[in-house]
């Protein structure tokens, strides 16, 4: 019995790196923030506002990758449409920020955003009502993606749409939303989307302090989401999730209503994506239908794969790394960066089948192999 308990403890090691990772993440965040706010620009340790914004954006992507990893890595649902939830969260935030502009828009209309004025809209569409309240907008930022995920997931999982069929349907979903949001009639600013934000909760979006605050908020939320997800996934629910991934039919035969597990996990993941989107918008300053584009969603999946799927930290690292690579490559070799990025994807797939995180395991198992070999001699 006691031996079993010790096994039991030993068996649940998947989360052992989470806490150290969170600690590193948060201390880096604090250091960067302090370096930005307190150090003089001339200091070599100064972190520019550009870098802070960039880091903030990366962290939003990391959260998005985390959301995808939860359902793809752990539940086997390959969503090629997660960008949609991200974008919906982003739009909710964007609408709030848009309303915050008030009469400081170019046409000086206190109610209507500029794009409505010059397209001759007479009044605010109903779905814009209440979006001037921060709390309401934030509720929408999680409720709308969550609700969409719920409806979509409920339909799809109940009908047992699985595998590539599901993936392509999620893609169809985001594609349909892309086309819809492009339409100016929708009332979301069409292709231009929402931009030209001024302030959030009364704080000037262009001030360094606000930026740092947003950055820290993102880091904190990312850490929180990571911890909660880790907790969920290492509970028995996590095991059921893995079971669903490996053999959904078998899981049903031992009495789990797999579709409910999938729906809730999908909703959870969509909500995280929505939160990531809401954090993303004030930091990059624009939300437009491009975020719905299927290619974006595919890229998210790729971040996860590069980092190592089925490992939450891997997803985060993958998102950070790929996006950092993108930033560097586009600046260093604007004409050839796609070669580098493409090659990166191919090479990671070929040589790091379990992603960057798997590299660690790969090295370890090599070492182990040589140890056993020696032992056998």
């Amino acid at each position: 019995m006691s031996s079993l308990i010790s096994w039991f403890k030993a068996g649940r090691t998947s989360g052992q790196y989470t806490l150290p990772f969170v600690v590193i993440l948060l201390s880096m965040t604090v250091l960067a923030s302090v370096a930005n706010l307190l150090l003089p620009q001339e200091s070599i340790f100064y972190v520019s506002t550009y870098s802070i914004t960039l880091l903030g954006k990366y962290l939003c992507y990391a959260m998005l990758a985390l959301a995808v990893d939860i359902i793809w890595g752990y539940c086997g649902i390959l969503s090629l449409g997660h960008g949609a939830f991200f974008a919906l969260g982003g739009y909710a935030m964007g609408m709030y920020l848009m309303r915050q502009i008030g009469d400081r828009g170019v046409y000086g209309n206190p109610i209507l955003p500029d794009f409505m004025v010059f397209l001759d809209w007479q009044e605010l569409p109903w779905f814009w009502l209440g979006m001037d309240q921060f709390w309401f907008a934030m509720i929408m930022a999680v409720v709308v993606p969550g609700l969409l995920a719920f409806v979509f997931g409920w339909l799809a999982f109940r009908s047992r749409v699985t595998g590539v069929y599901l993936s392509i349907m999620t893609q169809a979903l985001t594609y349909a939303l892309l086309l819809s949001f492009f339409r100016n009639e929708m009332g979301f600013g069409g292709n231009n989307g929402l931009t030209d934000f001024k302030e959030i909760l009364g704080f000037d979006l262009q001030s360094d302090l606000t930026r740092v605050a947003l950055f820290i908020t993102t880091a904190l939320l990312l850490a929180l989401v990571l911890l909660v997800s880790q907790r969920i996934l290492s509970s028995r629910l996590g095991k059921v999730t893995l079971a669903v991934r490996d053999s959904e039919a078998r899981t049903r035969f031992i009495g789990y209503r797999t579709e409910r597990y999938k729906v809730w996990l999908f909703v959870y993941s969509a909500v995280i994506a929505g939160i990531a989107g809401a954090l993303y918008v004030p930091q990059v300053g624009i939300i437009n239908p491009g975020e719905f584009s299927p290619i974006n969603s595919i890229e998210i999946v790729i971040w996860v794969a590069v980092g190592g799927r089925g490992t939450l930290i891997g997803a985060i690292i993958g998102a950070l790394l790929v996006n950092y690579a993108k930033t560097r490559f586009t600046a260093i070799m604007p004409d050839g960066w796609l070669f580098a990025l493409g090659a990166l994807f191919v090479l990671v797939t070929l040589f790091l089948p379990k992603g960057l995180i798997g590299l660690y395991g790969q090295i370890q198992s090599k070492r182990q192999a040589s140890v056993t070999q020696e032992a056998s001699k």
């Binding site: 079993l4 039991f8 028995r236 991934r245 490996d246 078998r250 789990y256 209503r257 797999t258 597990y261």
Partner: protein
């Protein structure tokens, strides 16, 4: 006015908590009604695949606590019958009742499993990416709703139960090995183990001893016999020695319907059975 009334009525009906929103519906805690001694009623089952009749007016009654052997030629429909009972396949016609009240045909796999019907598949299917331990933990008889699962803890009794089963199936050493890395026979055992921890009312066991050595076969026989009484067990096997060692009643399926039913000796001397299944000199060949 009436129309409005009706639509309100309809609306109410649609939004009855227990009907439309399966997510919100309270989980039914059920008892199997076995007041007639029977636990499983299979009546007039028909099922065809593209014209091929896999089940043909099949009738089968299983007593509560019985250990029933189901034999029959390859392709007779044994596995298909289990598929129907466990909700994997829907028959063209017929009825399947669990106890007197539960119509299995109107339930899905998870419901049926939660009613207490457990199954071991012909081809061992385990969660390959998870450890043997986790495979067992997942199969435990617990509340399997989402929220409850999220907050569940492994209780000491449950741990003891798993420990016990690990001993029975002889995979204690492989406890934290990924189930995918087990050999074929080990997977068979693991699946039996998963069945054991789930503590079902009715066990459907499809070819448990395939790929086991003689001794292991014996052990399995013991195990199954010990299970019967408390539970009801239906075993499908082609190993006649094994069948004889456990069987009280044997049912022979042929081309989707029951060919013969009786004690092992009756069956072994039944000419039809010998012809389509056992072979003329079956017993000598076996030994």
């Amino acid at each position: 006015m009436k129309a409005i009334d009706q639509s309100i009525q309809g609306f109410r009906e649609t939004f009855r908590r227990d009907l439309v929103w399966p997510f919100l519906a309270p989980e039914k805690i059920t008892n199997v009604d076995v007041s007639n001694q029977m636990i499983l009623y299979v009546e007039g089952l028909n099922l065809s695949f593209d014209g091929f009749k896999a089940l043909n007016d099949l009738n089968l009654y299983i007593k509560d606590g019985e250990l029933r052997c189901l034999i029959g030629a390859n392709g007779a429909g044994k596995t298909t019958l289990m598929d129907v009972i466990t909700g994997k396949t829907t028959p063209d016609s017929g009825s399947v009742f669990f106890g007197q009240t539960h119509n299995l045909l109107s339930k899905d796999e998870a419901d049926i499993a939660q009613l207490g019907i457990g199954r071991k598949f012909q081809k061992p299917t385990v969660f390959e990416e998870q450890t043997v331990f986790d495979n067992l933990e997942l199969s435990l008889k617990t509340d399997k709703r989402v929220i409850q699962t999220l907050f569940s803890r492994l209780s000491p009794t449950e741990m003891d139960r798993i420990d016990e089963v690990l001993n029975i199936i002889g995979l204690k050493e492989q406890c934290f090995m990924k189930a995918g890395a087990l050999s074929h026979g080990q997977k068979q055992w693991l699946e039996i183990g998963m069945l054991l921890v789930s503590d079902p009312r009715l066990l459907l066991i499809d070819e448990p001893v395939a790929g086991m050595t003689a001794q292991e076969t014996e052990r399995t026989a013991e195990l199954l016999t010990s299970l019967a009484g408390e539970r009801t067990v239906i075993v499908v096997e082609h190993d006649m020695e094994f069948v004889r060692s456990i069987a009280r009643t044997v049912t022979v399926l042929h081309q989707g319907s029951v060919l013969a039913e009786g004690s092992m000796d009756q069956i072994q001397s039944n000419q039809d059975v010998i012809q389509v299944y056992l072979g003329e000199d079956a017993m000598e060949a076996e030994l």
